[in-house]
Symmetry: C2
Subunit: 429 residues, 2 copies
């Protein structure tokens, strides 16, 4: 029993949750590196002005913002993109274009915690700066797809909803509607699936549009629309177009997206979006007061909804379970059956660890049965027994229930050899 | 040029610094796992009361503490130990003892930034709870030593300064000095090496001690002192005692240590301590208002001083450089020499990545020379050229300056095979 609690919306990562978190990190990192992305990280705290510059004053409602002891206005970061824009625009000449960078780390938003949403969450961000071609969006969408597949989430389990804000520009231009209505209009589209039709109709009227004509346009905006031609060709060549569904209602809430926009959705559980992103060609110029004008695109995937999906998806669950077992197990447990051999056992512990073998043992005198129990608890594959027969050491295979004996001098070599054999259980052996 | 700066004392991790950070994380993690430690993580934000409970009201001077929008007093964590005590005491029945846990993550202190000290820093923490024997301290000290060795910092480069607060208890008892003077006395000892002798003498007088008798005791407290017998036996059996220097001035500033205390110091550059720790048997009881009484010991190692040492130590620098190269390089760069083959090249990019090979390529049409330049910039080992000879694909070894040709259908197998060969430069081949 503890006197203290976690702060509302914050999380403890006990070893099992931490191993789950690490598995998610490792998977994100491995796939991003295959794609030639380089990892970076920004600070967890930035000046509040950085976020105001990007998102306007209202953003502070959702920020953990405060004054430090020198009265600086600072905030826990709610997202990484403003830091990325700050970093890249500060040193853009140092990096070859396109810049392909990814980042993994916590973000903070002062929102009401609920399923799939906590006040602290971890994001994977992948961004490409310095290239505005559809190949950039294709590379990012392919990465998002491959991340999902790597987690064991299959084509039956998720879909990429894809759109391009420019199709709505064209639509409004065709209807002779002023560009100033764009933001309002996109906000209506963003909510069109959840809002009642009468409500949407009422909001469209002042712009001079009807729900029927919007719906007709949406239905026509399919994968044959020229806005998607280059992306389609690219992702088809990679064998990934099957994961795409054109969906003109995807506009992404944030004002700063400029072209392609996409979200990753699960197909079976009605969860929130797993990831979302798109191109944001004007952000670097905005954040650098026009000094650095770099086109950009990127997406973010959070750990919370993803974690829920992994638990609900059998193929993903299996990979996760394997990873958790690997993280929580050790290679061998050294059993001191005869206390007179403890110092020899300690020397062996050290020698085995020195070659990278994961070893645990009991710190003090304990009955042999208890030590074997500890070996099982730690999911050790082998027990290495130092008893009266020393300098002979007994190696027990706790999976195959077999055993062998080896002179202490050969122990490290022998254990290394045994660990390279596949682990076979007693039923198979 | 960017309009914004990092907040004072906070750090950007551009790709090279991030790779250096990841190398430090990976090394900490690998060695801790060899020792059978399990990873956990606490929240970055805790209630300010948690830190007051452990360290008293003055701690708030060094805290990033603030009120959230619901007027909760919360703080960015200055260290992990209070969170660890909170977590373990809340669920101690769920875990077999001894609990061997480690953690890696950022901490925050509002201090004046200077060499080796920033306001945000990353710590590696290893703790053992539920066992108060000297074997616990031995395991932690062995871990600290092996971490240093794994970084390529050798016995010539670092030392563990070891002491035990109990030797001072005995000293004071022998001198018939009341236990209430212990904390004041330890603070004098803590500063004895940096303070002028007259000053120390003046501070010792009210307790009824002279500098001469303190110095005489310190000189006598060598490795033969019975307080170190069990530790010495244990670490000698592991071949690690050579790294230890008994130093009675090591008491650790923090009030909560109860027995063994140690610090890791470099031997050549006069840097601040690289790590420090000891046993703190009463903290769990304090943090749980007496509900859970678990002995404990642990240490923390920061990334800042360590990072400086790695750069200054040739053996460590070499390992670091290798790790940075591995992190920044890719396996192969796909060169599109004939744009008519781009879609075939994209299919190959996808197929190669699918088996885990790190691949990059140019997003749009580019002169072949520029693409080869990009391959070199990305430190690719191979260039895979899609030209007019397709479906034959040319594989150029950019290290050995050799080349071969392979049908596209066999490309993935062939590249996998080539990557398993050791990389040999042109001078050797």
């Amino acid at each position: 029993m503890s006197t203290f609690q976690t702060v509302k919306g914050f999380r403890d990562f006990f070893p099992e949750e931490c191993a789950r978190r690490n598995y998610i990190f490792d998977t994100w990192r491995a796939v991003a590196r295959r794609y030639g992305f380089m990892e970076y990280e920004g600070p967890l705290v930035e000046s509040t002005d950085l976020y105001r510059k990007k998102s306007g004053d209202e953003i502070t409602n959702q920020l953990y913002c405060f004054l430090d002891k020198a009265k600086r206005e600072i905030s826990l970061r709610p997202e990484i993109t403003p830091s990325l824009a700050r970093m890249v625009t500060a040193r853009q000449r140092d990096f070859k274009k396109p810049i392909k960078w990814f980042q993994i780390g916590p973000c903070f938003r002062y929102e009401e915690p609920q399923e799939g949403r906590s006040r602290e969450f971890i994001q994977f961000n992948a961004d490409i700066l310095g290239d505005s071609s559809p190949a950039t969006s294709a590379e990012l969408i392919a990465l998002a797809i491959d991340v999902m597949l790597e987690f064991g989430v299959s084509a039956d389990d998720f879909i990429i909803r894809l759109s391009n804000r420019e199709i709505w520009n064209t639509f409004l231009a065709d209807k002779n509607i002023a560009a100033e209505h764009m933001q309002t209009f996109l906000q209506i589209i963003d909510k069109i699936e959840r809002a009642r039709p009468e409500e949407t109709e009422k909001k469209l009227a002042p712009i001079g549009l009807t729900l029927a004509e919007v719906r007709a346009f949406m239905a026509a905006a399919d994968e044959n629309h020229p806005a998607f031609a280059a992306l389609r060709e690219n992702l088809t060549a990679r064998g990934l177009w099957q994961h795409i569904r054109i969906d003109a209602t995807i506009v992404r809430g944030l004002a700063y997206y400029t072209g392609t926009v996409f979200e990753v959705f699960d197909l079976k559980h009605g969860l929130r979006a797993l990831a979302g992103g798109g191109s944001y060609d004007k952000l670097c110029a905005l954040m650098s007061d026009g000094h650095v004008d770099l086109p950009a695109a990127g997406f973010a995937m959070g750990d919370v909804v993803l974690g829920i999906l992994l638990k609900k998806t059998p193929g993903a669950q299996m990979k996760l379970t394997e990873a958790l077992l690997a993280a929580s197990s050790i290679d061998a447990f050294v059993v001191v059956a005869d206390e007179a051999q403890r110092l020899h056992a300690l020397a062996a512990v050290q020698a085995l660890r020195a070659v990278g073998i994961r070893i645990d043992y009991s710190f003090g005198s304990q009955k042999v049965g208890k030590q074997f129990q500890a070996a099982e608890d730690r999911k050790a594959r082998f027990a290495i027994v130092f008893g009266a027969e020393y300098p002979e050491v007994v190696i027990k295979n706790l999976v195959a229930r077999s055993q062998s004996s080896v002179p202490a001098a050969n122990l490290v070599d022998e254990v290394q050899k045994l660990l390279q054999e596949p682990a076979i259980g007693p039923l198979i052996a």
